[in-house]
């Protein structure tokens, strides 16, 4: 009797747990599933529950010259911004992690400032600067704007990662005869790599998804995919937006799948516990 009672409660608990999990999954994945359905639907009108399958919107979107141009622009600019960001930020992050200098914390927090104010104001003031520097409507200008959005990830996560690497590991390398540079490249960098990959992933997504700043700086000739999305959503039938959304999320999804074995909560947490 007693045992059966416990079993029933255990079963109930498990059922509740599974139910909650399904609800959460539905909440997160539901809109995405709808998006997928819309992207492959020819027409989806009442009273049909299941839409007819069609690739016509894909043909339409991919055949559009503006779309091709925007894809090229995004595929070139986002990796460039990520790479530049890594080149600038990883050495800086190492300095933040290893050196104690006055104003270290303040400087670290300053990287948050780009995310702390209404972005549109920031972009407008950047635009006035870009006009003077002839960076408006250029590839370099768009890359720079995307770069601003990657800084936080590329500084904070690697700083946390480098801090997590015990200094003894570096000292041991110095001890057996490696100079500071060799120690960094052969010891520190390989050990930090998983954390750096996570940082680069977040930075890439931030750069790839950037729309506001790119819209201001890049129009009319340097339109990235998220910027074009605005135009598509406003002036084309619904499935076009869905198709484009799927295209827009493809790089992130692919990168997430490729790097998923490095994705551990620890790296993010280390980045934010400065």
């Amino acid at each position: 009797m007693q045992a059966a009672w416990f079993l029933a409660v255990g079963g109930l608990r498990r059922a509740l747990g599974i139910g909650a999990l399904l609800a959460l999954a539905g909440f997160i994945l539901g809109p995405l599933a709808t998006l997928l359905v819309w992207a492959f639907a020819g027409a989806w009108l009442f009273p049909h529950l299941v839409p007819e399958f069609s690739l016509k919107w894909w043909v339409y979107v991919l055949g559009n010259a503006d779309v091709g141009k925007a894809i090229r622009m995004s595929v070139l600019s986002a990796p460039t911004a990520t790479l530049l960001s890594a080149l600038i930020c990883i050495p800086a992050a190492y300095a933040f992690a290893r050196l104690e200098f006055p104003g270290r914390r303040l400087l670290l927090l300053s990287f948050l400032s780009a995310n702390a104010f209404p972005k549109i104001g920031l972009y407008v003031s950047i635009a006035t600067l870009f006009y003077r520097l002839n960076l408006m409507d250029t590839f370099a200008g768009v890359v720079l704007i995307q770069l601003v959005n990657t800084l936080l990830f590329m500084i904070w996560i690697p700083t946390g990662t480098f801090r997590g690497i015990n200094i003894n590991l570096e000292e041991a390398a110095r001890d057996v005869g490696a100079g500071p540079l060799r120690t960094f490249f052969q010891i520190t960098l390989p050990i930090a790599m998983p954390g750096l990959i996570v940082a680069a992933l977040f930075a890439f997504i931030a750069a790839f998804d950037e729309a506001q700043g790119s819209l201001i700086v890049g129009t009319p000739n340097h339109i990235t995919m998220p910027v074009l999305m605005y135009a598509l959503v406003l002036s084309y039938p619904q499935p076009v937006g869905a198709v484009f959304s799927v295209l827009l999320s493809l790089p992130s999804v692919i990168l997430l799948l490729v790097t998923q074995r490095y994705l551990r909560a620890g790296y993010l947490a280390a980045g934010y516990s400065l």
């Binding site: 015990n166 003894n168 590991l169 000292e171 041991a172 390398a173 110095r174 001890d175 057996v176 005869g177 490696a178 100079g179 060799r182 052969q186 010891i187 390989p190 050990i191």
Partner: protein
């Protein structure tokens, strides 16, 4: 084969002197322990030898050549750290061979030396494993192999076994001692564990608050501690506050119930002296002072008895395990040997001491 000389080495962190004016001579092939409580400057001293901390003053010489301006990668020293010794992204063989690869040795030569080094530390089959596949003790052995494979002049060990469990620690310390004898390498070993220092070292340098207290063999350190700190820190010691009095045949120290005669008129009347007595020097004697036995602890091959003396508190005594001692019983004891400290002066007091009862007539 190398001789290490530290010459008036000083390091300050802020205004606090972590290491103050340390002069130490480590002989060729010697195993020198730097011993002291945490924060005494022993690790800072070792890190200065390794090149990871820059001294504020003083010199470090190996075989008469100053190395104090060299970065760690150019010093002929090899260090084994307390923890996080091995690079997790390399196999054991790659870890051990890293320094050799930097020196651009031929592959065959690197393999030969790595194999040899791993055999030396008793891990010949571990070469393809990664550090996380090894136990803590095995990791430290690989770290020792990595240090020795470069044939350094000086081996530096920074509390290398403090993260191992007690039994393994004892075994590893025997192994390192054996290895050091075999290789004959001059070694500086930092530890806060006096038992470790006493068993492993040829000589021990005791440090306290950045100051070198005494450098001596384990036996000398135990029998003739030169400062009160060393007396208290090494082994177990009964410290008894005493006063000096003039006596017909020199000076008399009244230490609790005992009166200890000292030759000569050393100290002025009434000056305060500390008398230090090892527990094994507290012996049962018919003419001793009767004290109450508070606790008896069987420590295997001997007994530790805690005696109670109304004037000075607890007195510890080590005695033969066959001794008939019961708690609550009274035994007559006297110090067979003692050391008296007054400022920087130290006097050994040998021979039997006179219990206060016997000298009460004298006092009157």
């Amino acid at each position: 084969m190398a001789r290490l000389l530290l010459d008036r080495l000083t390091k300050r962190f802020g205004t606090h002197a972590a290491v103050h004016d340390v002069t130490l001579d480590v002989r060729d092939g010697e195993l020198m322990c730097l011993l002291g409580p945490s924060g005494c400057g022993k690790t800072t001293t070792l890190r200065m030898i390794g090149g990871f901390v820059t001294p504020d003053a003083g010199d470090i010489q190996i075989d008469g050549t100053s190395i104090v301006t060299m970065p760690p990668e150019r010093r002929p020293t090899a260090m084994v750290f307390q923890r996080y010794n091995l690079w997790p992204h390399m196999t054991v063989a790659q870890n051990v061979g890293f320094g050799l690869r930097l020196r651009r040795l031929a592959h065959a030569e690197i393999d030969r030396r790595v194999t040899q080094a791993l055999e030396l530390v008793g891990l010949p089959q571990a070469d393809r494993k990664f550090p996380h596949q090894l136990s803590g003790g095995e990791q430290q052995r690989v770290a020792v192999a990595r240090a020795l494979v470069l044939q350094p002049k000086l081996l530096l060990l920074d509390e290398p076994f403090s993260n191992l469990d007690a039994r393994l620690r004892v075994r590893m310390r025997e192994e390192v001692k054996q290895l050091q004898r075999t290789v004959g390498i001059t070694t500086v070993f930092v530890t806060h564990d006096q038992e470790e220092a006493l068993t492993i070292a040829d000589r021990i340098a005791v440090m306290h608050q950045g100051v070198l207290q005494q450098v001596d063999t384990p036996a000398a350190l135990y029998a003739y501690p030169r400062t009160l700190f060393v007396a208290d820190f090494i082994g177990t010691m009964n410290l008894i506050g005493a006063r000096a009095h003039a006596a017909p045949a020199g000076t008399m120290l009244s230490a609790g119930p005992w009166h200890l005669p000292v030759a000569g008129t050393r100290w002025s009347e009434g000056s305060e002296v500390t008398v230090a007595v090892r527990p094994e020097d507290v012996v049962m004697a018919a003419d001793g002072v009767e004290l109450e036995v508070r606790r008896v602890v069987n420590l295997g091959h001997y007994l530790q008895a805690v005696l109670w003396c109304a004037e000075i508190g607890e007195i510890r005594m080590f005695t033969d395990k066959g001794a008939a001692l019961g708690e609550g019983q009274r035994v007559a004891v006297r110090p067979a040997r003692a050391l008296a400290f007054h400022g920087s002066e130290l006097v050994e007091i040998g021979g039997p001491m006179h219990p206060a009862v016997a000298s009460s007539a004298e006092r009157r």
